[in-house]
């Protein structure tokens, strides 16, 4: 049973560029949540996708957008990258509104 997978594992971009991160949920899960985790901090909720729609959104600007596909996989897009966007981006999957979320290995993004 495959767990949550994310790609790429690492990424280096320059300010102003755009980036797309990908996530495949755990088998049987239909909900994908995205988090940003800065060094030494807990994860910060970006948004959650369910049934191909954004169900909830945290306090992140519109530069952060996402998508969920019919197979429940998801993408996170960040436009006009800033230095402060450098972080570990975590994807977590769950079944609908159940609390227990299972995390992927994350994508480490460095913006220069």
């Amino acid at each position: 049973d495959a767990g949550v997978t994310q790609s790429p594992t690492h990424l280096i971009k320059t300010r102003g560029q755009q980036v797309t991160l990908r996530c495949s949920p755990k088998s049987g899960h239909d909900t994908v949540s995205w988090y940003q985790q800065a060094l030494g901090q807990g994860p910060q909720f970006i948004f959650q996708y369910y049934e191909e729609e954004e169900r909830q959104r945290g306090n992140f600007p519109d530069r952060f957008s996402g998508h969920q596909f019919p197979n429940y996989s998801s993408e996170l897009n960040v436009n006009a990258l800033l230095l402060g966007d450098s972080a570990l981006y975590l994807c977590a999957s769950s079944w609908d509104i159940q609390e227990t979320q299972y995390f992927g290995p994350g994508t480490r993004l460095l913006v220069l």
């Binding site: 949550v4 949540s33 988090y35 030494g40 901090q41 807990g42 994860p43 910060q44 909720f45 959650q48 169900r55 909830q56 945290g58 570990l88 975590l90 509104i97 609390e99 227990t100 979320q101 299972y102 995390f103 992927g104 290995p105 994350g106 480490r108």
Partner: protein, 111 residues
């Protein structure tokens, strides 16, 4: 504002010691509290607590929730170097199905 606060922020102990990690919260529409362990990247699920006063146990780890005083503790007995990690506490809110996270406790176990 909804918040979750963990203490201490970091802790260094020797192998064999017992540690207690704390998590307090102030949130609206509380449903449950979850503990995760984060070693390198992905947080891994440890416990979910919904009822006050009922201890959850898994090997040397145990956790309990106090919904009246709004806190939870995570105990690790007979610590091993493999317990070194960041321990994260999160609260799930029924109002928006979000997890609100604490900053974590960085635990270092010295041989």
């Amino acid at each position: 504002e909804d918040k979750v606060v963990q203490s201490p922020l970091s802790l260094v102990v020797h192998e064999g010691d017992t540690v207690t990690l704390n998590c307090s919260y102030e949130v609206t529409n509380f449903r449950s509290l979850l503990w995760y362990k984060q070693e390198k990247k992905a947080p891994t699920f440890l416990f979910m607590l919904t009822s006050s006063g009922i201890e959850k146990k898994s090997g040397r780890l145990s956790s309990i929730l106090d919904k009246k005083e709004l806190f939870s503790i995570l105990n690790i007995t007979a610590t091993q170097t493999g317990d070194s990690a960041v321990y994260l506490c999160a609260v799930f809110m029924d109002s928006n199905y979000q997890l609100i996270w604490g900053a974590g406790t960085k635990l270092i176990i010295k041989p």
